[in-house]
């Protein structure tokens, strides 16, 4: 299976630049999710790879072979769109079979492949049904089956779960996860939904304003965002950001922040005199008793969040922090608590919002 590489790929529409000189490699046999807010350029990038949009400048390569001017049908790509593309007059079996027949596969091979995909997608009971009689979620499953049965080398998904109901969403996620492990194709999957991306991806390419911000595994992206955007965009709620002053003239530089009982050292400041500390809400822990590493905080707001966790709004001096704590640790509003933030779980960002390669030390 080929990898996909883009070199300075750019797309302009009149005054808007949708994709800004993107250079990225989508590795072979890997699921890469292009994740970002609406309007970030992810769909445009995908459509250029598919050949459905012409780049303003830049190149696309499949396994180092230039493909920028290749006709879409010559790219050996399967594509699943937000709205299922299926033939209304035909039944489910014929819909899946049609691209296989066009590829001139043998009768036996076609049957085998259909059985395979139908099994994973749980479509056995719908095979004889007419497409027109199916709900939109099942139709989307048929569209997925059609795209993958042909075993193209590259499969592109453009927000395929946006218009399916909640139950089908889980079912399709499950099926896609299974399929992608089995198939070993090169898959690029566009979504704005972080859970979908984190669940399905081997790696995520996070996009913002036409640029790739970071390409990493879901865990690395979540825990070590290389840009404040990733810290903010991922997570519910996203990271806490605290701007602090760096005392200059000393080496290592010292940072004072209300969430730490003592000054914290910053071995390498990269010349910044103000940095932003990023802390995930679940990494703001509440201790049962006083400790050397803890500071006093006041609970100013409290609500219940996903999985029965409490989301607390805490005030420490003039810093306000969100904290996500396990269920059943009831902390009343206006109560004082001891909180601890591990220095190792703090990400440091510079003035331009990019992570500074440095480790905070006690």
């Amino acid at each position: 299976m080929p990898n996909i590489h883009t070199e300075n790929l750019r797309k302009e529409y009149r005054e808007v630049t949708a994709v800004r000189d993107v250079t990225i490699t989508f590795p072979t046999s890997t699921v890469t999710c292009l994740l970002g807010p609406s309007g970030c350029g992810k769909t445009t990038l995908l459509r250029m790879i598919a050949g459905l949009e012409k780049p303003t400048s830049g190149e696309i390569y499949f396994d180092n072979v230039p493909a920028t001017s290749l006709e879409p049908e010559k790219r050996n790509i399967g594509m699943v769109f937000q709205y299922p593309v299926v033939y209304r007059g035909l039944n489910v079996y014929r819909n899946i079979d049609l691209p296989l027949a066009q590829a001139k596969l043998s009768e036996g091979e076609r049957k085998k492949r259909i059985e395979e995909v139908v099994g994973v997608l749980d479509l056995e009971d719908s095979l004889e049904k007419n497409i027109g009689d199916l709900d939109s979620s099942t139709r989307q499953k048929v569209a997925v089956a059609r795209a993958i049965a042909r075993k193209p080398q590259i499969i592109l998904f453009d927000e395929p779960l946006t218009n399916v109901d909640v139950n089908t969403k889980v079912q399709l996620k499950e099926a896609l996860k299974k399929l992608t492990i089995q198939l070993k194709q090169t898959i690029v999957y566009v979504t704005h939904d972080q859970t979908e991306a984190m669940t399905l991806a081997d790696q995520i390419a996070l996009m913002n304003q036409g640029e790739i911000v970071q390409q990493d595994t879901p865990r690395a992206l979540y825990n070590h965002p290389s840009d404040v955007f990733g810290g903010w965009f991922l997570g519910n709620p996203g990271m806490n950001f605290i701007e602090v002053h760096v005392e200059d003239g000393k080496k290592p530089a010292k940072v004072k922040c209300a969430i730490f009982p003592k000054d914290i050292q910053l071995p390498d400041t990269h010349g910044e005199n103000r940095v932003t500390l990023g802390v995930r809400p679940e990494n703001v822990r509440i201790l049962k008793a006083k400790s050397e590493t803890a500071v006093r905080a006041q609970v100013i707001r409290k609500s219940i969040q996903v999985g029965g966790q409490y989301l607390l709004l805490l005030k420490i001096g003039d810093v306000v922090l969100k904290s996500k704590v396990p269920p059943k640790l009831g902390y009343g509003v206006r109560k004082e608590v001891w909180i601890e933030v591990l220095v190792s779980q703090v990400v440091v960002f510079g003035k331009n919002g990019r992570r500074i390669e440095t480790k905070l030390e006690k």
């Binding site: 807010p37 499950e174 859970t195 519910n236 995930r280 679940e282 609500s303 969040q305 996903v306 999985g307």
Partner: protein
């Protein structure tokens, strides 16, 4: 129903449960077939909408495209003939609260989606009054935008000290905003109370199902007497039952619903006296970032578990053992859905 003054009250229920109609009745945009509405201890049932003195943010709030932001926000006040100085003060206060002061001289089509939404919220709170009503104002917005606006709404309510009445069908939104919550289902208020009471001691199976993300697991069970104690029998396990105080478990309660929150299906929890355990196969791990929703197959049943990122290591095998603390299991009548007991002897 009664909504206390100065609280953030959320009317929560699935689409079509009647929450919008209820809200329109409160604002006077609909006339009740029967019943009365009191505000500030006065009967307002016959009072026209414009005279009820409430701020209202409808679900879809079109801004006037030919008005600047300032004029859009001040519109409700101009409508009631407020003085210029008063209008100016109210607009500036609302704009400051929603951080849109720099936008006041712009036109709606120069704003982003989130900015437009803030302008609409600001317009809803310009009227100086003690009661503000919001009809599902964040539905359809992407979730990062909602996260910000939810914070804004909480801050607004705290700053104004006013009564906010807010409808939504989104579970997480309801839970994050509500102090007082009213569970609406099929046109009726099932129950109401503080968020924590409703979440931890739901009086009805529907409350447990609706109020919680990921959704609670519900099993079918059967109550029976065994060696003089009350036992609940399910497809997965049998366990002792502690009936609600004052609740006589009668013959007609034999069929029951058994509710278990996903976070109480604990991977790796050691078998103890007060826990049940089950062998499960992991079907899918949904990654929320800081936590995971785990889809399980237990003896042919599809159930959900929930773990925080710290406990991810407990999910490294495909086959895992789940422990369930018995006292977290809630038992409901299958007849009328009311809570009749909990697990534990």
């Amino acid at each position: 129903m009664k909504i206390d003054s100065g609280v953030f009250a959320v009317i929560f229920g699935p689409p079509g449960c009647g929450k919008s109609v209820l809200l329109r009745l409160l604002t006077g945009l609909e006339t009740p077939t029967e019943g009365k509405i009191f505000m500030r201890e006065e009967d307002v049932t016959g009072v026209p909408s414009g005279e009820r003195s409430i701020g209202y943010v409808p679900q879809s709030f079109a801004l006037y495209p030919h008005f600047k932001v300032y004029e859009n926000i001040s519109y409700p006040l101009r409508l009631i003939g407020a003085k210029k100085a008063e209008i100016d003060e109210a607009v500036k206060r609302a704009a400051h609260m929603l951080r849109i002061t720099p936008l006041l001289e712009k036109y709606p089509d120069q704003l982003s989606g989130g900015e437009k939404q803030r302008v609409a919220l600001a317009r809803g709170i310009t009227k100086k009054t003690g009661i503000y009503v919001f009809d599902d104002p964040l539905s359809g917005l992407d979730f990062k935008l909602r996260e910000q606006l939810i914070d804004d709404l909480k801050e607004m309510q705290e700053a104004l000290g006013a009564t906010f009445i807010y409808t939504t069908s989104d579970t997480l939104e309801a839970m994050i905003l509500a102090e007082q919550i009213f569970i609406l289902d099929g046109g009726r208020i099932l129950e109401h109370g503080s968020l924590e009471d409703m979440y931890y001691t739901p009086g009805n199976i529907r409350t447990m199902e609706l109020l919680g993300f990921p959704e609670a697991n519900v099993l079918n069970g059967e109550l029976l007497q065994r060696d003089g104690s009350l036992i609940c029998k399910t497809k997965l396990f049998d366990f002792p039952v502690k009936p609600e105080a004052g609740m006589i478990v009668k013959e007609e309660h034999r069929e029951v619903f058994v509710g278990i929150r996903p976070q109480d299906m604990k991977p790796g929890l050691k078998r103890q006296k007060d826990t049940l355990s089950a062998e499960a196969r992991i079907i899918l791990k949904e990654d929320l970032g800081g936590e995971f929703i785990v889809h399980l197959d237990i003896n042919g049943l599809r159930l959900l578990s929930f773990v925080r990122q710290d406990d991810l290591y407990l999910l490294s095998d495909e086959e895992i053992t789940i422990g369930i603390p018995m006292e977290e299991i809630v038992i409901f009548s299958s007849e009328d859905g009311t809570r009749i007991g909990r697990g534990g002897g």
